[in-house]
Symmetry: C2
Subunit: 340 residues, 2 copies
DNA sequence: CTGAAAGCGCTAACAT
DNA sequence: ATGTTAGCGCTTTCAG
């Protein structure tokens, strides 16, 4: 039961100015640059703001100043934990500077991504963060024309639109494969989705192939079903059902992601197939399920949160007039556990 | 290598109008209400738009029309899959109507949530979607003053700020407990975080207590460690380590969430404790890991995506002048599987 | 340290 | 079906 308050959320700068007995400009300054206003004035303004429940209209501010304090981020999916840490890292950095994140997911479709970029550009964001390097030419053109800082993440870009922070998926695939080879596995299969869909997964597959070739072994691929781009546990369980029948012609499977790898682990448990004794399994991502599964999953730890933080920081640095590195390689780490 | 294009992203409505030989207003109409413009005119406008690479400035449009086409959503966390489907459901509905979602996570802290609401209100969103019913009085006051449609989700609200779509966490806890009782378990423990932190989890615990009392049994609680509000698999594994030592004084554990429940499952596997033979385990949420774990988790399926869809639809309906139901109960479903 | 004037780019309202 | 006028609420100048 609020007492007689002012009209609902309707106070404007001028109203605050009137009540505080100063000009609108002084109120604006008191709010944004408190250092440039006399302490007494500031106090009067603050009180008027409180009395009126004034909430600055950022829309008007953005229009005039041509700075929206919005950064757009587009990730392939929100429903998988994969990019959640990255997004979290971004908000962490942006929020600290008064910026807000406008977020959307592309469903792994470059055309959808393009549509989102078009729609979001209308909000005149101060920066844009994309996932991967696989974008339509129209998107690249639009973004370059917009002239705002852009960061591509989760991959190393040969020809970045603007800036880039990521790691080498190819090297990660290679090093993980080498690690399995080092543990004595020889008949290793790589299980991923249709490479046409997912460039990052394909890069890992290429690394796998290179490692196998270097060891004088024949690479072999198994395609995960495409439901949710093969990122489901279910797809991994199905793959395991098919692949275990091929033993002993195969002795290890590298999945392009921890989630299908976990599904495979479960399927093996159901079939009483020993992991890694009968079949070794590795994943990618080092999500919590990889650590907590039994047996724990051998996988690759990826700098998810740090990529988000850095991407946001690079955008902010550019907005502030700086010249951050155009390309940052954050690396990865092969994590050997019990499953392979 | 783009050919001689216009200045970067700088075209305004007036430029398009000039090129198309019409007034700015006609361009505005051609873009937003194509039906109210002659087909020929529309074609000329479309061509001018393309030629100039014109992207409408939504900031200016929002300032003038007092409609931002932005809806704000605040969820407790992004890094857990729990709310991802809900967010996905929202974007699905909003995007279809040209609305965009401004998203943030509160980290389960009402004070953080309040700060976010304050910050976001400056964008003059057309609606706001919150998680839960546990908000600071200041937040409630601000939102009521703002006069925009608000939906609280994931719970049934006794006194909603405005609108509400959810399900009864209490009933869900009770029905799940009854199901375990029906399967012959008697010494059932409820494992959740400090109830002061998480109202939804507390409600489930209350339902559990009611079911136990009704069966003439003594309720017993185990507190999960508070890392990430006890939503981690790790916290469940630790709980299992402690609780298994108490057998046979306990024969089943209900976790407030599938993730700790899964962690407990893994811990039991490590200790060669049979589930459900030696200890039954149940979770909450019906996330993919519940279906794919071995043994598969008994849990409660919750209408995550549908809550998101409905919340968004209710906001849009109100914006359009309609009067949607103020309170929608979407129910839940106990899913009996192998773990309990 | 404070203020006055001007206008960001668009659309509501009212013509025609 | 199209055009004119005015102004959304703020901040960027430029003065004092």
């Amino acid at each position: 039961m609020p007492s007689k308050t002012a009209a609902p959320g309707s106070a404007r700068l001028a109203d605050v100015a009137r009540l505080a007995g100063v000009s609108a400009m002084t109120v604006s300054r008191a709010l944004r640059l408190p250092g440039r206003v006399a302490p007494q004035t500031r106090a009067r303004v603050d009180e008027a703001v409180r009395a009126l429940g004034y909430v600055p209209n950022l829309v008007a501010g953005a229009l005039k100043s041509q700075r929206s304090r919005i950064v757009v981020a587009i990730v392939p999916t929100l429903t998988s934990a994969i990019f959640a840490e990255t997004v979290d890292g971004m908000t962490e950095v942006l929020r600290a500077q008064g910026y807000q994140l406008l977020l959307a997911n592309s469903g792994y479709a470059p055309e959808t991504e393009e549509g989102l970029v078009t729609a979001f550009l209308g909000r005149r964001p101060d920066g844009m963060i994309l996932t991967g390097t696989q974008h339509t030419p129209e998107l690249r053109a639009q973004l370059r024309a917009a002239g705002i800082p852009v960061v591509e993440t989760w991959e190393l870009a040969a020809d970045p639109i603007d800036m880039n922070v990521g790691f080498s998926n190819r090297a990660a695939g290679r090093r993980l494969t080498e690690a399995l080879l080092g543990r004595g596995h020889r008949r290793i299969v790589f299980a991923g989705v249709d490479p046409a869909f997912e460039l990052r997964s394909r890069r890992r597959a290429q690394g796998y192939r290179a490692a196998m070739r270097a060891a004088g072994l024949a690479p072999a691929f198994h395609r995960l079903d495409d439901a949710d781009r093969g990122l489901t546990m279910r797809s991994g369980a199905r793959a395991a059902a098919a692949l275990t029948a091929l033993r002993p012609r195969i002795d290890a499977v590298i999945f392009s992601n921890d989630f299908p790898a976990f599904g495979a682990l479960s399927e093996c448990a159901r079939r009483a197939i020993a992991v890694p004794g009968d079949l070794a399994i590795a994943g990618f991502g080092d999500f919590e399920v990889a650590r907590e599964a039994h047996p724990a999953l051998t996988t690759v730890r990826v700098p998810g949160r740090e990529m988000g933080r850095r991407a946001a920081a690079m955008i902010l640095e550019r907005i502030a007039g700086g010249a951050p590195a155009r390309r940052v390689d954050l690396g990865f780490e092969v994590v050997l556990r019990d499953s392979a």
